[in-house]
């Protein structure tokens, strides 16, 4: 039997499913926090969450609303600082998975979180790349959250804040990156992945009730739809954990489904 759920719930759970047990998770706040927390409770108990501010493996009895929230420093195994956090992010020993969000993304997973329009006199200014540029550079892999809209999925981002597969193919490695690159883009409609050779984005799965055509309509560039499957809907267990344990106040989940 199907359960009612919101697209935010589906996004958090979908990203959570991409986590492997033991992954070291570099989380921002918002959806990434939910994805990490739910994965840890369901299938990745040995995964560790850490924040760029230096909080490692916090108890997370309450959800942080920023990466400098005092809740990222409570019950941790260690409180350090930014340099420690970034030294872990790129550590060759660790399979670090970073969750990022952005305002724009291009077909190769390059993202913009800096501005729209001219850089020197932007139409819209965003906060800036923060640690996302570093996570995109140094992490073992990156999972990106996006709202699927034509104006966000664009041929060319207005400002390249954080590098994905760059121009595709081998270009990322040639630019000097030793590892990493985006694994998946999780949106309100489905999951995009990247071709092993061309490194161009393709539709990997639609959420239940979403058609590939609907995803294409909300994408500003050509998207290969031929490999699209369908995501499994949230299980009762997943929803229960997400709603009761992870975000009972719905601080990030927002309004409950009708």
């Amino acid at each position: 039997m199907a359960h009612a759920y919101t697209s935010k719930e589906m996004m958090a759970l979908t990203a959570g499913r991409l986590v492997k047990n033991g992954d070291v998770l570099f989380a921002g706040t918002g959806l990434s926090m939910l994805a990490a927390a739910v994965a840890k409770r369901i299938h990745a108990p040995q995964s560790v969450v850490f924040f760029e501010t230096g909080g490692i493996d916090p108890a997370l009895k309450e959800l942080p609303l920023a990466v400098a929230d005092p809740r990222v420093m409570a019950g941790t195994c260690m409180n350090s600082g930014l340099l420690d956090a970034f030294s872990l992010l790129g550590h060759r020993r660790l399979r670090t998975i970073a969750f990022l969000g952005a305002a724009q993304i291009d077909p190769f997973g390059n993202i913009n979180s800096t501005c729209l329009g001219d850089y020197h006199r932007p139409k819209v200014r965003f906060p800036g790349c923060g640690g996302a540029c570093d996570a995109a550079s140094l992490a073992f892999g990156v999972i990106i959250f996006m709202q699927q809209e034509k104006k966000r999925f664009v041929e060319k981002v207005d400002y390249l804040s954080s590098v994905g597969w760059l121009k595709g193919g081998n270009s990322r490695r040639q630019a000097g990156y030793k590892r990493g690159g985006p694994i998946a883009v999780v949106t309100n409609l489905g999951v995009m992945k990247f071709d092993e050779q061309s490194r161009r984005m393709y539709l990997a799965a639609c959420y239940p009730g979403v058609s590939p055509a609907q995803v294409a309509e909300n994408t500003g560039f050509d998207l290969d739809l031929t490999r699209a499957g369908e995501s499994a809907p949230p299980s009762q267990e997943e929803l229960t954990i997400l709603r009761r344990e992870v975000d009972p106040q719905r601080l990030i989940l927002g309004p409950a489904p009708e």
Binding site: G30, A74, G75, N79, L83, T114, R121, C133, V163
Partner: protein, 325 residues
């Protein structure tokens, strides 16, 4: 031997600290991070004293940056992120000022800014990094050639070169060190000898303080030196790197200070509202900055019930169950 240094020459009011140690045009490093340990008392005092053309440098910063930019005392920023997380994913006055061309911005990443402060702290002229190849963070300069190499602004934003130790000559980014005029730090404890202890995450405060020529520390408590010297492993800065110590309980409000108080969601939400409108923001400055002479008056305005609401529980360091919507 007894402690070498005495706090009494350094303990002063926020008014005196800003008057003596913050000049027009200074490059100022902001300690703390987004919603945590912003040196708000000093930020408000800088606005009150009408400093001008400040150049702010930081990794990710929120409330102090936004109010300084909003008050028009800032000309330039170097930063990685300007916002307060869910309360204002992009700083409201920061966004407005950038879009209106009122401030110039040089974007770096958090790791890059951290390395630049580290280089300043270690007295290295520059530092390599492997972050951001082919990104616009490296490819595009915010500051024009007219600023480059002037004062404390480095001659280049970054230099791409290759690793001379590697036969493959892999690319590497060189970043210029940061050596700000002043660092503003908010700490939980300062000892009577001037030793500083920060609890919870230290972010990059220690490197920022070491990189700076002058350091202003506001603190929740001044404590006997013996308290801090009983476990010196926990201390963050030695006395002789600090120029001014300002006793300022709730000095980071509306941002958080671990083990003392949480961020104030009501104030931050209210700020987001008023910051969106130029008139409302002027009123906010009048009421919350110009209209309050000092921290005592400011706290009276916040009110006891809001202060008690955000008071931290000692076991976790924040305010459990605080309504943060």
């Amino acid at each position: 031997m007894s402690a070498s240094i005495d706090l009494k020459d350094k303990l002063m009011s926020a008014e005196e600290a800003v008057r003596r140690f913050v000049k027009d045009g200074d490059m100022i490093a902001l300690g703390g991070f987004t919603v945590n340990r912003n040196a708000m008392v000093i930020a408000r005092e800088i606005i009150r004293q009408g400093r001008r053309e400040l150049h702010l440098v930081m990794h990710s910063h929120g409330q102090a940056m936004d109010i300084l930019v909003g008050a028009g005392v800032v000309s330039r920023l170097e930063l990685a992120y300007g916002g307060t997380g869910r309360f204002a994913p992009t700083g409201i006055r920061f966004r407005k000022a950038v879009q209106a061309g009122q401030v110039q911005v040089e974007d770096y990443s958090n790791f890059q800014m951290s390395l630049r402060f580290l280089a300043g702290a270690l007295n290295l002229p520059f530092i390599p990094s492997c972050s951001g190849f082919e990104s616009d963070v490296l490819n595009r300069e915010g500051f024009g050639p007219e600023l480059r190499g002037r004062g404390r602004i480095p001659s280049r934003k970054a230099i791409i070169t290759d690793n001379p130790f590697s036969p493959d000559r892999e690319p590497v980014v060189l970043l210029p060190a940061l050596a700000p005029d002043v660092a503003l730090i908010h700490a939980q404890f300062v000892g009577e000898d001037g030793t500083v202890r920060i609890k919870g995450l230290t972010f990059l405060d220690i490197e920022q303080a070491k990189a700076a020529s002058r350091v202003i520390v506001t603190c929740e408590e001044v404590v006997p030196s013996t308290f801090l010297r009983q476990d010196p492993d926990q201390n963050s800065l030695p006395p002789f790197l600090v120029d001014a110590v300002v006793l300022a309980p709730f000095g980071a409000h509306p941002t958080a200070c671990h083990y003392f108080y949480d961020y104030d969601p009501r104030h931050l939400n209210m700020y987001r509202q008023v910051a969106g409108d130029d008139n409302d923001f002027r009123t906010y400055l009048k009421e919350w900055v110009y209209g309050v002479a000092d921290q005592e008056a400011y706290l009276a305005k916040v009110g006891v019930s809001d202060l008690m609401r955000i008071k931290a529980n000692s076991s976790v360091g924040y305010a459990p169950g605080l309504d943060r919507r």
